[in-house]
């Protein structure tokens, strides 16, 4: 039970922690140093995290009803929809940070709202799974202690990895941080797109496409390294053709923003 709790919760926490770290690091390097950009204050992040936690509790509470939607494919479809909104939010955030900051003084509201949407939905999606798992465990008294210990261990690993990624990123020069951070955001968007395809395929909303490769022998997704790579770059041992195509398309979408192009100029 302990190991199951570690793997399940690590999968959820790591993805949200790493996304938050990259967004924080990228925004930290904004401001007068890159033409037409302005950084957002920590209040935006705090608001997004709190909203995300409430959202996760609400989504977990409504899960039995949501699951019955769309011919009992509600959970997959709603999760896929959230993934798509996160990709859109990431694109809007990167776009508005760069383009409109020149014309409007003060913190950029549009970019801030997009940031809140991205973080809130990411935490809602991942957090709901944790709430459901812990709620399920509470019915088995012998499993509670190992599960909570596993949750604590996974939480510690996820948050620590996020903190170290943030400090590693801001330790570089501004240009390098922005380059690495924006590439990671593009990879994250790719990961979201690939997951969307997987969820829609599971919900029978999309046809199965051929599997491109199988690297389970080299690195399974269920190891700690596999989990870390899954959260960071969307590592998948057995991706389908549609997943790969959507992954590349989402990456290109993020790479098309002026902010991304300027950071590589």
């Amino acid at each position: 039970m302990f190991l199951v709790a570690v793997i399940l919760i690590l999968q959820e926490i790591l993805e949200a922690a790493l996304l938050l770290s990259v967004l924080l690091a990228v925004n930290q390097q904004m401001g007068p140093h890159l033409a037409g950009t302005r950084k957002l204050t920590l209040h935006w992040y705090a608001a997004a995290i709190v909203t995300g936690i409430f959202g996760a509790a609400l989504f977990a509470w409504a899960m039995p009803t949501v699951s019955e939607w769309f011919d009992y494919a509600g959970q997959e479809v709603i999760n896929a929809l959230m993934h798509l909104v996160v990709i859109g939010g990431l694109y809007t955030h990167c776009l508005l940070l760069q383009t409109n900051a020149r014309q409007t003084p003060g913190p950029h509201i549009g970019a801030g709202v997009a940031l809140i949407v991205v973080i809130t939905l990411s935490i809602t999606r991942e957090g709901a799974e944790i709430f459901l798992y812990i709620n399920g465990i509470m019915g088995t008294p012998t499993a509670v202690t190992p599960a909570l210990l596993g949750a604590g261990l996974a939480g510690g690993i996820g948050i620590s990895a996020g903190i170290l990624l943030y400090y590693s990123l801001v330790g570089f020069s501004r240009v390098v941080t922005l380059r690495i951070g924006l590439v990671l955001l593009a990879l994250f968007a790719g990961n979201m797109a690939a997951q969307t395809i997987l969820l829609l395929t599971q919900a029978d909303w999309m046809p199965y496409t051929p599997q491109l490769w199988d690297t389970t022998g080299l690195l399974t997704e269920y190891s700690v390294t596999g989990q870390l790579l899954y959260a960071l770059i969307g590592y998948e041992a057995t991706p389908s053709l549609a997943q790969a195509v959507s992954y590349v398309a989402a990456m290109l979408l993020l790479a098309s923003t002026p902010l991304f192009r300027q950071s590589w100029r």
Partner: protein
């Protein structure tokens, strides 16, 4: 990096947590494997024990415990079994370990053939119970690691705070150092890493002191060098007035130019004398009303010459300040008032405590007043209004000096309409001071 303390605390805690938790995870996995081996060895020992049992005396009620089961077969005849054991072979007749499902649970089994007695001995242990037992034992070692993290965090915070103490102390020493104090820093305890910083700051203070000394000498020399030729120029002008037409435009302009030059030198000297470096040592307790009385008496002839009325209102008002600087402040306000107020005009000085018990000095006149466009600029250095003040002699430093002296005393200076219907009122409000 916003905070060194935050970076060190979070960074150290994150590294420690990440590696100790991953180590705990690896430890858990290997300990669970070890526990499996241990349980298998116990099962093997159990099979030996069962082989030595007098199975003829064992009936189906024989209990080893809920988690263990056994069977003893002689060819197809079941000689003895525990109560959970099925009626058929619990595991294939192959020597070694295996898994099997019976009695509603999954079991780890071991089968051996006893050649001496020509019997199959089969023993089994419930996997769920042995997993829970193993996990509980292993988690006992994980729990202290998990609980230790908050304690470790607290200890790291204390260590980081202790380590940063000399840096914080140095920062406080620098902040508390008065503006005129140019003595080197002498921290009580300087760690090796901070010695270059203290040396660099002390070197900078030394260079600053030398630069200020040079500036002081330069100002004194400049004053001497400029005052003497200006005085000589004035004498030459006086002599020239005997030889040429002293009422000619050229002569008048020459005379005004020399006057302006003399005034500019005096104002520049006043600006230097009221520098922050010298302020603290020049500060004394004084009666602002008495000081105003002296200045008004000294400047009275100027007002009298223009037939202007000069009044002084108020009463004794004690405060701490630099008497010379405050005299300069009031002299500049009076000079301005006299210059901009027409002949037979009215100028009033008041030194009072206002409703907030703060000392307030107001100089107001019934002159033309300050144009709205000028109000935001009149305190700037060398600013001269374009609204008809070109005929009034001045260098544009008077109100800058007023503001400078007010700032030194942490006072607020403002300009507004006077109470006389027309004209300007300059108001200097001093902060409340602790009674000494």
């Amino acid at each position: 990096m916003r905070s060194i303390r935050q970076f060190l605390l979070l960074g150290a805690l994150a590294v420690l947590t990440l590696f100790s938790f991953i180590a705990a995870l690896r430890g858990y996995q290997s300990s669970m494997q070890e526990a499996e081996t241990l349980f298998d060895t116990q099962l093997l020992d159990l099979s030996q024990l069962v082989a030595n049992l007098d199975v003829g005396r064992v009936n189906n009620d024989f209990r080893l415990g809920n988690n263990l089961a056994f069977q003893v077969w002689e060819q197809q005849s079941l000689l003895g079994a525990s109560h959970q054991a099925p009626a058929i072979d619990m595991t294939p007749r192959v020597q070694g370990f295996d898994f099997a499902n019976f009695d509603g649970y999954r079991w780890r089994t071991y089968a051996r053939f006893d050649e001496d007695q020509n019997r199959w001995i089969m023993v089994a242990e419930r996997t769920d119970l042995r997993f829970v037992l193993a996990e509980n034992v292993v988690l006992e070692t994980v729990l202290p690691i998990l609980l230790g993290i908050p304690v470790t965090g607290l200890l790291i915070w204390l260590i980081v705070s202790k380590g940063l103490k000399p840096l914080i102390q140095l920062s406080a020493d620098l902040q508390q150092k008065p503006a005129h104090d140019l003595t080197p820093l002498q921290p009580r305890e300087t760690p090796r890493e901070l010695v270059p910083v203290v040396n660099a700051v002390n070197g900078m203070i030394q260079r600053l002191g030398a630069a200020l000394e040079r500036e002081k000498r330069l100002s004194a020399d400049a004053a001497h060098e400029l005052r003497t030729p200006i005085a000589a120029l004035k004498i030459q002008l006086h002599n020239l007035a005997q030889e040429v037409d002293a009422h000619s435009d050229s002569f008048q302009q020459l005379e005004q130019g020399v006057e302006r030059m003399g005034h500019l030198v005096e104002q520049l000297m006043a600006l230097y004398r009221t520098s922050p470096e010298r302020f603290d040592e020049a500060c004394v307790e004084l009666d602002l009303h008495a000081l105003a009385q002296e200045v008004v008496a000294r400047w009275y002839p100027l007002f009298d010459a223009k037939q202007q009325t000069l009044e002084l209102l108020g009463d004794r008002c004690l405060l701490r300040g630099d008497p010379f600087a405050l005299e300069t402040l009031l002299a500049n306000l009076l000079s301005n008032a006299s210059k901009y107020t027409p002949e037979q005009g009215r100028v009033q000085v008041s030194v009072l405590r206002n409703a907030d018990a703060r000392v307030e000095m107001v100089v107001q006149d019934n002159g033309p007043g300050i144009a709205a466009a000028d109000a935001n600029h009149i305190f700037e250095r060398f600013y001269r209004s374009e609204h008809g003040s070109h005929s009034v002699p001045g260098c544009g430093l008077g109100l800058t000096i007023v503001q400078h002296v007010a700032e030194l005393h942490h006072a607020e200076v403002s300009v507004g309409p006077s109470d006389f219907g027309s004209g300007a009122a300059f108001r200097v409000v001093f902060p409340l001071q602790d009674p000494r």
